[in-house]
């Protein structure tokens, strides 16, 4: 997947100065809370979360849909938040890693990642956990290791913690 394409700098929040301000109002639900944003059309959901709402648990890795660090749930399904515009999500329910724990209690997927030591540097972990939550009760994805690996293949771990990530996912699914 990785190619030698030129990656543009992290400039999503610096709209083309030659264009007049063209912000759009978008209302959505983030981790159960109603949120109204005033954003330029070119702000991807990832940048809206991190830069406008201070929800920095969702990470920016490749910014091109190749690494999965930015995975969030959109209406319950995992998605790359770097490849979707915030303005496209009027009325949608977004869940980020900050929305997993409830009332001081970790989500079962967070518990499983802790228990299985399913991370090293931790940069990909939020994305890994969001993909796991998305497939927790998805019976279309088989319970064997090969099926789980395939379903999780959109989440890259540069440290190579895959063995323990797989254990954590399997453990969380078995208990779900």
């Amino acid at each position: 997947m990785m190619d030698d394409s030129v990656h543009s700098p992290d400039d999503a929040l610096q709209p083309d100065a030659s264009r007049s301000s063209n912000t759009v109002t978008v209302s959505l639900t983030i981790n159960g809370e109603p949120v109204t944003l005033e954003v330029e059309p070119n702000v991807v959901l990832l940048d809206a979360l991190r830069e406008r709402l201070d929800l920095t648990g969702t990470k920016k890795g490749c910014d091109h849909g190749q690494c999965g660090a930015c995975t969030v749930l959109i209406d319950g399904h995992s998605a790359n938040s770097c490849l979707t515009l915030a303005v496209m999500h009027e009325g949608c329910e977004i869940t980020t890693v900050e929305g997993l724990a409830r009332d001081g209690q970790l989500h079962p997927v967070q518990e499983a990642f802790l228990e299985h030591d399913a991370y090293q540097c931790g940069y990909c972990t939020a994305g890994q956990m969001m993909s796991t939550v998305s497939m927790l009760n998805d019976k279309r994805i088989g319970s064997d290791d090969a099926s789980v690996k395939e379903a999780m293949s959109g989440n890259i771990c540069r440290c190579g913690a895959y063995k323990n990530i797989l254990s954590a996912v399997q453990s969380a699914r078995a208990k779900a």
């Binding site: 959109i74 995992s78 490849l83 496209m88």
Partner: protein
């Protein structure tokens, strides 16, 4: 990423009216390919018309046995749809070998049909590319071309078509329904993607302001089985080096009807009528499969790094046919 104006359409008529046959406007659905392209500065829309609210999310069984798929059906929903699993397993397999869970959850049926090549020369504005900038030359012809096409190439472009889903559809046969300023029209799926020839910038038979609204699969071939075999550098989340969609109906030990389409080797999702002719009426044996594979790849042209794709594709064809006929 450069900025653009944004408009949200509620129905098909509003979407085509908002687009208004404007060369600088694009429709956006899932956006997984388009936003990547805008970030790379390869696509530079001045205006995006969001079609995600259009009522094109359904899958409908028609009375004549065909399956009508709304343009906005996600790759995930299409792959797991009960009619697709039952009657078009080759399509389900093809979709599920492509991309990642996150991308399949968002990418749409029509968006997949519209997706652009992954050629690194096309994706890098600093390199020459006749597809991106007609007349600038082709960096891949004399460059690093291990992943490039061996079928349907020209001296202007050897970019490979990246889709798996389209290869499944090519084997099954399908019709695209297109809505635009000139009204509604249907075109055969096979005629939609264009060979590069002297105009590699023209990738498909779609005019400004036209929108794909449906993909309708042909009725399943009676008694046919299907299989999609994808060969790639790693087991998951990787584009095909060579892939084969095989749909075969047997009559005893003989092949009554066969459909063969190839991915990873063509400049468009590649239907091989030559392979199908070599299979029709013949015994379902490895010898027959070998002849079909030779016929499919007879016109292949290799460049410096991709000659391996020709035997690889032949092996994919033989193995896909062996698998699909062994199921009976």
């Amino acid at each position: 990423m450069r900025n653009f104006d944004y408009q949200r359409a509620g129905d098909v008529a509003e979407a085509t009216a908002l687009h208004g046959n404007d060369h600088s406007a694009d429709f956006i659905a899932g956006g997984t390919n388009l936003i990547d392209m805008v970030k790379l500065d390869i696509m530079r829309p001045e205006r995006l018309v969001d079609v995600n609210r259009l009522p094109l999310t359904g899958i409908e069984s028609l009375d004549d046995g065909r399956l009508k798929i709304g343009a906005l059906v996600t790759n995930t929903d299409l792959a797991y749809h009960e009619r697709v699993l039952a009657d078009y397993p080759v399509l389900s397999e093809a979709i599920l070998t492509g991309a990642s869970t996150q991308l399949r959850n968002v990418a749409t049926t029509a968006g997949n049909v519209m997706q652009r090549t992954r050629c690194p020369y096309f994706r890098n504005p600093a390199r020459p590319c006749n597809k991106r900038e007609p007349g600038s030359g082709c960096g891949a012809l004399e460059g690093i071309n291990r992943n490039h096409a061996v079928l349907g190439t020209s001296d202007q472009c050897i970019a490979v078509h990246p889709s798996d889903m389209c290869v499944g559809m090519q084997a099954l046969g399908a019709t695209l329904t297109i809505e635009g300023p000139g009204g509604t029209r249907d075109i055969p799926f096979e005629d939609y993607h264009l060979l590069p020839g002297d105009t590699p910038e023209r990738e498909h038979d779609l005019n400004d302001g036209e929108l794909i609204t449906h993909v309708t699969l042909d009725a399943p071939i009676d008694g046919a089985r299907g299989h999609y075999l994808k060969l790639r550098d790693r087991m998951s989340y990787e584009f095909a080096l060579a892939s084969c969609a095989a749909v075969v109906a047997l009559d005893g030990d003989a092949i009554r009807e066969a459909r063969i389409a190839l991915g990873g080797v063509g400049t468009k999702p590649w239907r091989s009528h030559e392979a199908e002719a070599a299979l029709s009426g013949q015994p379902a044996t490895e010898e027959t499969f070998q002849k079909a594979a030779e016929a499919a790849m007879a016109g292949a042209v290799a460049h410096r790094d991709n000659a391996f794709k020709i035997p690889l594709a032949k092996q994919a064809i033989v193995r896909a046919l062996a698998t699909v006929t062994a199921q009976s």
